[in-house]
Subunit: 367 residues, 4 copies
Amino acid sequence: MAKIPVGILGATGMVGQQYIALLANHPWFEVRYVAASPRSAGKKYREATAGRWHAAGGIPHPAVWDLIVEDANDVSKARAAEKRGDCAFVFSALEMGKDEIKTLEATYASAGIPVVSNASAHRLTEDVPMLIAEVNPQHTDIIPLQRKNHSWDKGFIVVKPNCSIQSYMTPIWALIQAGYEVKRMVVTTLQAVSGAGYPGVASLDMIDNIVPYIGGEEEKSEQEPLKILGSIAGGKIENYTGIKISAHCNRVPVIDGHTVAVSMEFGNKKPSIEEVKKIWTAFKALPQELEFPMAPVRPIIIREEADRPQPRKDRNADKAMAISVGRIRPCNVFDIRFVGLSHNTVRGAAGGGILNAELLKAKGYIG
Amino acid sequence: MAKIPVGILGATGMVGQQYIALLANHPWFEVRYVAASPRSAGKKYREATAGRWHAAGGIPHPAVWDLIVEDANDVSKARAAEKRGDCAFVFSALEMGKDEIKTLEATYASAGIPVVSNASAHRLTEDVPMLIAEVNPQHTDIIPLQRKNHSWDKGFIVVKPNCSIQSYMTPIWALIQAGYEVKRMVVTTLQAVSGAGYPGVASLDMIDNIVPYIGGEEEKSEQEPLKILGSIAGGKIENYTGIKISAHCNRVPVIDGHTVAVSMEFGNKKPSIEEVKKIWTAFKALPQELEFPMAPVRPIIIREEADRPQPRKDRNADKAMAISVGRIRPCNVFDIRFVGLSHNTVRGAAGGGILNAELLKAKGYIG
Amino acid sequence: MAKIPVGILGATGMVGQQYIALLANHPWFEVRYVAASPRSAGKKYREATAGRWHAAGGIPHPAVWDLIVEDANDVSKARAAEKRGDCAFVFSALEMGKDEIKTLEATYASAGIPVVSNASAHRLTEDVPMLIAEVNPQHTDIIPLQRKNHSWDKGFIVVKPNCSIQSYMTPIWALIQAGYEVKRMVVTTLQAVSGAGYPGVASLDMIDNIVPYIGGEEEKSEQEPLKILGSIAGGKIENYTGIKISAHCNRVPVIDGHTVAVSMEFGNKKPSIEEVKKIWTAFKALPQELEFPMAPVRPIIIREEADRPQPRKDRNADKAMAISVGRIRPCNVFDIRFVGLSHNTVRGAAGGGILNAELLKAKGYIG
Amino acid sequence: MAKIPVGILGATGMVGQQYIALLANHPWFEVRYVAASPRSAGKKYREATAGRWHAAGGIPHPAVWDLIVEDANDVSKARAAEKRGDCAFVFSALEMGKDEIKTLEATYASAGIPVVSNASAHRLTEDVPMLIAEVNPQHTDIIPLQRKNHSWDKGFIVVKPNCSIQSYMTPIWALIQAGYEVKRMVVTTLQAVSGAGYPGVASLDMIDNIVPYIGGEEEKSEQEPLKILGSIAGGKIENYTGIKISAHCNRVPVIDGHTVAVSMEFGNKKPSIEEVKKIWTAFKALPQELEFPMAPVRPIIIREEADRPQPRKDRNADKAMAISVGRIRPCNVFDIRFVGLSHNTVRGAAGGGILNAELLKAKGYIG
């Protein structure tokens, strides 16, 4: 089977590099188009990233190495690539102002090029689904409405949520789906520096120190879950109103892997610790059932050791796509507490985006 | 005025060293007796700590340098020192089994030597006060009862709480005292490695990593505040029952300074953010009123910057004895959230112990 | 082809774990016997390592998981395993006193079990070859003499050198072999904490700090190369006398990967920078010619960036078995300077040991 | 005695802040003028540094707090301050292009304002002395020549050397002065991140990593000592030609404190280890004899422990102005090896600058 040709917008940045690394041997997709800022445009990809290659997956695939970087602002280049069969859709890892991204991604969609985005720009756009493939795959159903709203034919936009919520979103969804409503949560994140890009956080702030603040992160961590748990009604996605989240976000001296300490209060129906473990161990969703290439075998891995999960030891579990949880125990204030962990630049960024694209292919929206 | 001669039990360990460093120029107390494990006994203090001096305050005071280390298990040595005027009371920084410490500290008290302890052994002993000088100085009133219970004449035991609670205990007490009952709290700590002593936490666990577990720490963080807020009744200290705390304790790659993220729920009477700030800014207690040497001018310092307090930048505020708080903001689940920070080996260990001794002197129990 | 069954002595320690991880899918060898301290003996391997699995290669291979750990001191267990076809030779990653290891490894050899050792005990034993497979494969020729000296039939001992020398040993050998004698070298190492095992270096010594001393390391770094470059004469390996090395060894807060800064003085024949690069790029040795499974395609990889190699970015080059070099430039005092880097627990420990075993199989000494 | 009023150019940057902190209670000098980039000009000093105060010495002195920051490019402001008695001379901690600094510092000097500079711009200017107060105080004798060359009346420029050389420069000078010529040296530095300013080095480069390269640093480390050891001849400072230095410069995850590993080769007259120790212990120079306020009691402190000096433990020795040395031992290639350490932002920057100003006052050039 011929692979689907894909483009990367913002291909030279940290998340863009991660896409290149993770797609190196992908069975369905093949990177054939790369675009970035005008500064990189015209260079070979290897030149444009020389001396600033950060992705965990090592140096780029030889086939990507010599691709000429195009100007991401020039959508006509992508259309040309689409016409010659080099760009069926794009992953957006754009790094620019939020409003600029919002407009530019819409321009791509309008030009007939589906956009699978990592950026936060369209996360609160009402007819744009914010997908975690294991949690709300049915939100892809809004794509036809989105196309209709904008009179787009082939193009559309989907986004993924912020990296800070990956470590608790799938676990609480598994419980809600099993009939245990999580009503209130206090979550405290310990987030890795790779989440801030490069150069990102100064080493003077991260040696012998932590920073108890990440701009905008607490709002995203509290609000995005409501849309993900929401339902399609009246041509848009309406927020779920059954949960309240309080998020404390901290930056810690860790390269990759966001850890989160969670206290959960359930509704009237409260699971036991054992039931929680059983539900999480058994949890599988569409990506597992259809065996998507990027899907972890088990979305949630329970660590039974007293002091796990830990970022350096658990972030790479199952291609860095599994969420590790541990320390599941009663809460002295709410009902149950636990610690969650996921890889922020794989599961929480490029890996999650690729899984979304696999979902879209399975549903027939791309390819 | 002649200084009060004081002994240090466990003088060669990390906390013992911190006592030596902080007492170097103390106006009331003078270290004239040092005791440690049999291994160190008989050596000069400088020899016993050679190559393993860790305290922030630099090398020991010359007067201590040549003191002969005694065997801490041999209480007769301390009695002899007391008789010759070299040891009016002791700071206990013993590092041995909990039961051994419990017995040994009682033996010192029984021998007529007051014990101001850093150890956890007697924290839950009903007639032993667990003191934070700014929060519950009135708990010293139980000392006469304690003496009577054991038929001790001059000796007694007081303890200080675990270092993990310092960053939130004084702030919530200030609010409770002002009439705003804190009913429920979720606290997540990011604790420094010095809290685990030396060698303590392995560097393999603290480079590019955090550990979301510290043995016994969550229990202490949840239970000790209840005793500190308790009241003397029936010859013992009865726990306060008006508050529930859920603690998540984490180890992070920071040398000194425990940070804590706190969500608080108040009773019917709820303060505004501005009232909280006003109460904390204005808060002073007995150590401030009587101007104890070790007391910070203001027990609570509010940082208005968006990203403070931070351990490396704020732990040394006011001789490392002030608690820094910041990010005071509404909570999405409870009422108000904030970040607290205090120096764990000064305010949370030796400095807090010295402040307790200053309180005991002011109250006439030692000296 | 049936795989050769192999045992691991010290299988539960850090290096032992690394052997298990690296041998998981080895085409020639299969772990069928594990031995460790009496404390672990009798447990399943998974139980014996529960909560202290550190190796980079993830959790053990299922086939190893349920092996019963034997007492490494009891050589009769290994003989029994050898007889039933489960242990054709052993990798020694023993962690005990040097003299004990020396005796115990000889006991294994005497019992007919070849020992491929990581320990330093026999490194200076005159008839034991200290092998880097790319540098001195011909030193295996001393094995028949060693057997004869001890009247051993099948058994023998080979060792590998200290991890600190891997980053410069192969590069200077490549130059010497090309006719450019390196006469004097000053090397300064920046060594990772995994080199000290677990718990190893305290985090209090590695946060905001470096330690400019590692016990015994400078002596090994200066002396071991002389034996590796030596020649077999009179029934023993005689040291090479043509080179003098001065080593400064430092511990730095890095998990894996030893970096070294090297200044080299050549004899009368001095290469240009370009010749050095050409020699290193072209360098291949027996492991490459015979395509040993663990051999890197190129033993030496030149990084042209101004600021490489760096441990986190380059340690895993080619299965963590390649040595990365960079900053090749003139020296203001000697002739040429460069920076070298290799993975200390793979190339410098278990991976290097496996490569030695592959060499021994190719030469017919095991299998 | 009235204090000498002093101005700080580049007062809001990291080094400028360090000057403010260190001068807070200086007995001779008082900060009465602050200047920085146009962006800060017009703001109060406290506003201009809000949220980016990094200096170790804590928040600024209240008297500085409300000073209005002037535009450092506008020399007329400094002249006006000089006229009204607020600026007898300036410390330059300017952060701009090298050529701009070169011109601007000359403009200050030409305007009658002596410049004590931290910048590298004028380090190689032939008639500008590069001072370490303990090493070459006699180089101030060139100031009259410098004034004459430029027809300056009161103004002049002195500079201090790069922070990387402090840890070995005073030690080798003490040996040279004692008659033991150091002919060749190989030095490998492990430099702290504060040397790169803020934000400086990215945390992604400093967690679980070191960077074996600092742009321009090796050249400075090799060449600047030649000028410092030089002599005044023909109206300029002529380089010393008796020493060759090879420097390998590395960035390590340490906040403050540059460590250096040194191998030294002496001329015909070679000291014993004991002589080296005796010379370093006894070494005192003009700043010690005249008891300058910023001078350490002993410029060189010998640590006898096997594993010292270490940056976190020794950088603050004697107001962070003393150089700590240790591991003095024979070298296998040259004659003697040692480890040196000094505080890069105090001894190596603002503290060294203040000591230079104290020297200039003692010599009658300022005040």
